[in-house]
Amino acid sequence: MKGWWWKLGSVALLLYVVIIGLRTPLKPALVHVSIDRIAPGEVSFEVTGYNTHFDQGPLRAELENDGQTVCAQRVEVLDAAHVRVAVNIPPGLRTPLTTLRILSRTDGPLVLHEAFYTEGLGTGITVETCGEFFDAENSMAGHSSKEGLRFPHRSILNETVRNLFFHVPMWFAMMVLMSVSFVRSLMVLRNGRLSDDRTALSAVNVSLLFATLGLITGSLWARVTWGAWWTSDAKLNGAAVTVLIYAAYLVLRGSVPDPHKRARLAAVYNIFAYALMLVFIMVLPRLTDSLHPGNGGNPAFSQYDLDDSLRTVFYPAVLGWIGLSLWVLNLTDRTAKLEASRHEAHG
């Protein structure tokens, strides 16, 4: 690729990703309730919100059990992130899991699914309606448009959802570079040109850099969300195997002194390994269950995990990181070329 426009473009995209990706707030959400079991009778508990504005505007709290609603009697605002709710639970709720809803004119409806384990089950209660809360001026459509871009709040992930723009594109960039290396290796076998071999090697070197970055960002993310730096998992094993395969490629190169023979042998191994690696990362995750998103049938992450607000940053992030990786490849390859020509000049 000639020219500077794509380098400038990827830097601009990455600036956008860093600024928007790190500055956009999460949507308000309920994160914690002070009790996790309820039984018929008078119950009072404290609810903790994240990025909420409980102190602005009226609130209403409701419990929902199997489609039946119980309205709270009192909602007492403690501060922007805490409210105390008192409910009189009627006997006869039908299912063991009860959902908590807090309706706010500022933050919209906030839902904590399966907030309570319910004791004293029965066959149903007399249905109450708590009345209309959102009127025409305060409808949800008007509310969300004045909020601007906000990322979804996912339990467990919380603020780390932003790592999506760094961790995932690293693997995309790695795969692109390995594909570049694969194509160059095919060209080596066709033409036997050493310049193609040099580019194949540079691409592997840079792809290993991005793999390392992917492992570091992934490891940090795993520590925060799963509680361990490394887990035994189809995706993680696939990443480790990929790094080992390409490290072996470097070892193979190191053990053949003749440059033409080295180019040919390395190309053969590269093509063989690339094809097998593709099969393994496509096939193996389908055969196992996993904590990692996008498993149990789908080796990538599903549309489920992404919503539109994440997409507006995620797609630019993928393009930006791939562009940056190609730029690094470009520089590495030119350096290698200069070194090769200097080597020739000095014998």
Partner: protein, 220 residues
């Protein structure tokens, strides 16, 4: 096809002439199993029993296939080079190695069950388990034959073969360990068949890659 059959017969003749080759492979498996037996005596725990077996088979495969391109001296290589097409050479050698590994894997499981104990086999679906083992041995042979050729051409023998081969074998090994464990738990063809189907697909891919790539290794 005729040439491949001839080459297969040649491999057979060479191995018959060097009977110690077969003996050394069998001895390697039996002594590895015996060393494990001295270390752990009997294993009743199914996952451990299964995992140890696959590790033994893996190293037996490296040992058996590592010599597959080593025994050629320059003269014989030149002879083969002038007489046969490289694609037929790799096909014949891969098939021969696959057959060798099929036999060796059955020998390994027999020795293993004898020494380490066959308690783990009590609830096993025997047909699916033995098929997994034989197909596992064949898959090891498929992948490692091309790697052995590569390592031999790089002039660095079995050490380089382990470095190049292990990462490529590892995903296969994980799949096989899982399939073997499921077969030991008594799951039948409907589950194991899916794994075996994937393994067959991988074997076909590896064979196709070897067919495409070997000519570039063969010429000098």
């Amino acid at each position: 096809m005729g040439e491949i059959a001839h080459l297969l017969r040649l491999e057979w003749w060479l191995d018959r002439r060097q009977k110690h080759a077969w003996g050394s492979m069998a001895l390697y498996v039996v002594s590895t199993v015996y060393v494990c037996y001295q270390g752990v005596r009997h294993i009743a725990d199914r996952p451990v029993w299964n995992a140890l077996f696959w590790i033994i088979l893996l190293f037996a495969a490296f040992n058996a296939l590592g010599r597959s391109f080593q025994r050629e001296d320059a003269g014989r290589q030149l002879y083969l080079h002038t007489l046969a097409s490289p694609r037929n050479v790799i096909m014949a050698r891969t098939l021969y190695n696959a057959l060798t590994m099929a036999v060796l894997s059955l020998l390994s499981i027999a020795a293993y069950a004898l020494f380490i104990g066959s308690n783990a086999l009590e609830e096993a679906a025997v047909g699916p388990f033995l098929s997994t083992i034989v197909l596992g041995g064949i898959s090891f042979a498929m992948v490692l034959t091309l790697i052995a050729a590569l390592a031999a051409r790089a002039g660095n023998g079995i050490g380089l073969m382990a470095v190049l081969g292990l990462p490529l074998i590892l995903p296969l090994l994980l799949t096989l360990v899982r399939a073997g464990k499921l077969a030991l738990d008594g799951l039948g063809w409907n589950v194991i068949g899916q794994y075996l189907g994937w393994l067959c697909a991988i074997d076909v891919l590896v064979l196709a890659l070897a067919w495409l790539l070997f000519p570039y290794l063969w010429r000098d």
